[in-house]
Symmetry: C2
Subunit: 254 residues, 2 copies
Amino acid sequence: MGVVISIVSQKGGVGKTTTAVNLSAALAAAEKEVLLVDLDPQGNATSGLGIDKTKLKKSIYHGIIGDADPCEIITESSIECLKLLPARMELFRAELELMSRPDKEKRLLNFLAHLRGTYEYILVDAPPSLSLLTFNAITAADFLLIPLQCEFYALGAVSQMIQVVQVLKRRLNPRLRIAGILLTMFNPKEDSCLQIAESAREQFSNMLFKTIIPENSDLKNAPAHGEPVLLQDIRSPGSRCYFNLAEEILNLSH
Amino acid sequence: MGVVISIVSQKGGVGKTTTAVNLSAALAAAEKEVLLVDLDPQGNATSGLGIDKTKLKKSIYHGIIGDADPCEIITESSIECLKLLPARMELFRAELELMSRPDKEKRLLNFLAHLRGTYEYILVDAPPSLSLLTFNAITAADFLLIPLQCEFYALGAVSQMIQVVQVLKRRLNPRLRIAGILLTMFNPKEDSCLQIAESAREQFSNMLFKTIIPENSDLKNAPAHGEPVLLQDIRSPGSRCYFNLAEEILNLSH
Ligand SMILES: Nc1ncnc2c1ncn2[C@@H]1O[C@H](COP(=O)(O)OP(=O)(O)OP(=O)(O)O)[C@@H](O)[C@H]1O
Ligand SMILES: Nc1ncnc2c1ncn2[C@@H]1O[C@H](COP(=O)(O)OP(=O)(O)OP(=O)(O)O)[C@@H](O)[C@H]1O
Ligand SMILES: [Mg+2]
Ligand SMILES: [Mg+2]
């Protein structure tokens, strides 16, 4: 049975999409069948995989409002074992349209239910918010991965997120666990970065992944080429760190 | 009559809060009466000004749902001419609670109406989304300031935002204008940064501010000290660039 991992943080720009794209690519390179779900109306995971949004007939929007089956939406990527449920701008409308439905937080959970038999890993890239789309990502998940950029505002965001997760776990998803907190854009030459990483270890000690994602220009530039960094240079530090993270994910007990 | 400027981008981490805090401080240093409105449930502008959220009796949440007057919420900052309408986590609830109200996009507009006579500049820090809180920021504004970090995903976000603004301008706020697009975290040594800046000039030519905000460690570290960068070192590049931006804002015709 496939495992659903949602990548969440209400803090913007901490590396959610970069992690979603490159981790799913690394898991696919390890010959796992992977489905990446882009749940951000910005559709950055979709463009990060080089998909042309104008050519899509349907997107995840149609899936969660109940207008399409998964097979009508799922798109190939340039990596064999990696498929995508793409997002486009219309997804902004979903929050308004689902607000009055009793199962509004469970739309993604129900939509992915039939896919767990086909994919070993389903990764969800959530938008930077604590709104209905992110609640859907948390309710559908077996595990959460919380990226933490080494900057002041992002540290507070992690404790806020953990508070929200406790509430949603009780109300909507008792099986939910936090897979870990991932330090991203880590630059050991910056004092403030070292200090933030140090306070993260004190506050969240055993929740941190062993893998730390370095600040890395390949990771920053890969989206402009529309492909994960491992397709550009499999030996670069940007690729290797996400292979290491994939190793930790493969060892999660589920 | 005071001018309302909302700082918006659905892309996360592009420098909205950093701009809101440091631009409002620079305008206050030019002896303008300034009110900064924190409209992000993360409350980063509030912590960026060093305000202790646990000591607040009320926050902007109470203002926009109609439970409190501005004078019950407005807080002093460490800068004489700069006051703040602070945000706390409860603001996440506002979107759900306002959804069914007919004036849901105009709550902030109506709440600020009486304050335009007291403040010369009212700056609004919006969350990274295109949801009800951001619609409130756009509807209440005379001008929009759109930060653009020199990275691939942020460029697409600007064109998406401009599309949304055109729709909201027609429907909700005919007087709205875009004050400008602000290049942030600019690093001239990075090729990708230069390329993104070049495409921004081609796509948005006359909408770009002359001021460019450099990548600067003082700006990155200031939030940890709870104060704008000009209180740390008024001559640093981080301070000077926001003084230059303030100059351009003072010259906006309104
Ligand atoms: N390890 C890294 N080193 C350098 N730059 C990085 C790294 N990871 C991400 N970035 C850059 O930081 C920016 C933000 O990353 P990304 O878009 O993945 O964050 P996000 O959390 O998904 O943002 P949003 O909140 O808007 O969804 C992007 O320009 C990306 O290229
Ligand atoms: N000019 C700059 N130079 C270096 N770092 C910067 C600069 N401006 C902002 N930063 C850093 O980048 C990160 C994101 O900035 P900020 O929080 O202001 O963006 P934001 O758009 O408000 O994010 P969000 O989408 O979460 O509201 C912060 O750590 C901040 O300190
Ligand atoms: Mg993202
Ligand atoms: Mg912000």
